[in-house]
């Protein structure tokens, strides 16, 4: 039994320590907004925040989650889906199939929280999520729009 915080609430989880955080979130906690894409930290569909840092939850074992860890998932990014990144995404109609977008949004939110002035080079370096529908052009526009909303 392990206790930590997810989206501001304390949770208790009973699972093997080797279980990736992704599957704890999805299967133990029912938070299915965080997606399974590759299982090897390549695609970023499972990106969540652990203590504010973007983490690929599919390769982050439960054993690495500290008792004091605070995890934020897409469900906890905002109360009403109105985080500036989400608002920017809505305005530009970014998603196509949408499956990678929770991870894309979480990666962006983490980037802008640390670097509100992120430029294209920062985006190129920090946003490495895969989107097979190919929404990158609007993702980039969305990041810049979110920046303006946050400013």
């Amino acid at each position: 039994m392990k206790t930590f915080k997810v989206n501001g609430e304390s949770v208790e989880v009973d699972a093997e320590g080797s279980t990736p955080l992704l599957w704890v979130l999805r299967e133990q906690l029912g938070l299915t907004g965080t997606k399974f894409g590759c299982g090897i930290a390549q695609c970023g569909a499972c990106t969540v925040h652990v203590d504010g840092n973007p983490v690929r939850a599919c390769a982050y074992p439960l054993s690495a989650v500290g008792e004091a860890s605070e995890i934020t998932t897409i469900e906890g990014l905002s109360e009403a889906g109105d985080h500036p990144v989400q608002l920017a995404w809505a305005e530009l109609d970014v998603p196509q199939c949408g499956y990678c977008q929770p991870g894309m949004i979480m990666a962006t939110a983490a980037l802008l929280a640390k670097n509100p002035d992120a430029d294209d080079a920062d985006i190129d370096q920090q946003i490495t999520n895969i989107c097979r529908c190919g929404t990158f052009q609007r993702v980039r526009e969305g990041i810049h729009l979110a920046k303006r909303k946050m400013a």
Binding site: I40, Q96, Q137, R140
Partner: protein, 730 residues
Amino acid sequence: MTNSATITRRQFIVGASAAGIGLSLGVLPRGASAAAGPDEVNAWVRIATDDTVTIRIARSEMGQGTLTGLAQLVAEELECDWNRVTWEFPTPGQNLARERVWKDFSTGGSNGLRGSQQYVREGGAAARIMLIGAAAEAWGVSASECSARDSVITHGPSGRTTTFGKVAVAAARQPVPQNVTLKDPSTWHTAGKPKMRLDTQDKLTGKLVYGADLRFDGMLLASIMDCPVKGGKLVSFDADAIKDMPGVKKVLAVKTSVGTGLGTDGVAVVADTWWRAHSALKALPIEWDFGPNANFSDADVTRLLESGLDADEAFRGNWAGDMDAAFASAEQMVESVYKCPSQSHAPMEPMNATALVTADKCEVWCPTQNGESALAAAAEASGLPIEKCDVHKTLLGGGFGRRGAPDYVHQVVAIAKAFPGTPIKLQWSREEDQKHGFYHPTTMAKLRGSLDADGKLTGLHMRISGQSILAALIPQALVNGADLATFQGVVKPGLSPSMDQHQISYDFPNLLVDHAMRNPPIRPGFWRGVNVNQNAIYLESFMDELAHAAGRDPLEFRLAHMEKNPKGAAVLKAVAERSGWGSEDGKARGLATMYAFGSYVAACAEVRVVDGKLKIDRIVAATDCGTAVNPQQIQAQVEGSFVYGLSAMLYGEITYKDGQVQQDNFHTYPSMRIAEMPLVEAIVMPSGGFFGGVGEPTIAVAAPAVLNALFAATGKRIRSIPLKDADLTA
């Protein structure tokens, strides 16, 4: 342990069947309500007393905006308030029960809108006529004096008004209009406009329930491993070795038959969570008989394809004039050989499906490009009559052609039969998804062209050698042995009605395009853009080679053969003009054009090579799809399809060693990321009078435009993709 987000099966189904409540559980599947109800005006439209309009969508939504476009088409004719529009999927079972009132569920071939626009618009128009008829009857006036707009019906002479919601129930009793006149697209106000998608919001909050996210009370999870070599067999497994691993409920052999020698012969582990099922499966000792393809490798593919380049026998797909005579009198001959490998679809959401089988019922929830195909698979796998089965579609985390095949439905039903009354969700790992695809066919091509003393192209021979999708999947669709689909994008006009949407763009005096069919033991399938992709690389790269050999401008060289194709010439000129083709700014540019899926498309790419690495700066793309139903989504499709096409060009290849796929995840099957994304400028230029496809055609021009620009930048002609291993230093 918190479990608050678990959706119980009962809640799920109740939620799904009650309008509005479904939203709190994600937007799917809403099918259960598509049975005829009091608020149903006709099969396509339901209107609640609060004026909410629910439009029934038969096709799948896999990212291409099909659902929104179809809703726009219905709403346009219905004259309803777009802001009050929502949607639901009828189930394929309901479709059968109502004599296929929603017609085809198949979503592929860029057919979602153009294949159904006529009858969905008629459905919307019929509903409008019935609503107006009901209002007119209540008022005791002539329907011809009434009109509708934004869900409000107005009686012209008196100025009286009512709303759709108030007359919807009465409207359902109105006679069904037999002949409806559709609006001219030039008068559209909802369709034809850049409307925001109806499915965006829940994709931003994690609320959207994809197939992979389905949860039912008491559900068990399955992970599967099919024989890693196609044509091989499961011999045995040692279930005892993993029976004590946490959560494991059952280990079972799964054998299905999806097609001629193409079924599953594997093993699945069922556990209380997927992670536990998958961990146990990875630990399970399994003995395979790899069968006849145990030693198959990529070198075998190359040998087989090369054998077709000069083979005497080939199927013809396009011909004109006398090519041999043209070659005999050539001033200059140009000859090149090209190659394109197998590709995996790699949608972001790996294959999955959920099934509940009881003695007399089989229900499946899954992402599928064809609900009816999934339903047929459920019936065949369960052994139950089709009337006892149904499929609830979820939105797809990508399809690209892969989810047209319901192999995973066969599998999940086979597993669920061993757990009567228990919902089973089968989730493939990414590795399973990569190893058991229906891959983009692999081909090579040898092109020869003759030029006269004036640099005019006098003859062209395009020999395609390679894999036929139809020969593997639908042999009965071969025409005297020929797979006409292999000629997509280069086919002779009039060769076959179904291929006329893929005619060659050019008029050549002396031409032969032929196909030496070579079928390696790789399961091929329909991969977004299908055979247009490689044919565009072959023909459009070679046109560039010919232009350079002739010392002519590649734009002018192409246009010289497009006099009979003014719409094709128009898109080509549009990209040339916008991109600054011909300007002396030192930028390396490349062109490509194609007619595919009924649309005229062209692209101009600008590239640089920096430290031996390709940098694609910009691509201008134009598409004339005849009628633009949602221009901003067409732009999104152009932007996105380029990522798909360029990922294949840059990195994508499926290769074989010892009969097994070598690229089992994104580290070995990379996909483009944002850093590599060029600026895409999409010119949407619908010329009217027809409906062309949107999801696929532009993919094909991305790669040849970039390869031609790369030649302009470096003088190097890349004739084999992917580019990843090519030396690009000038």
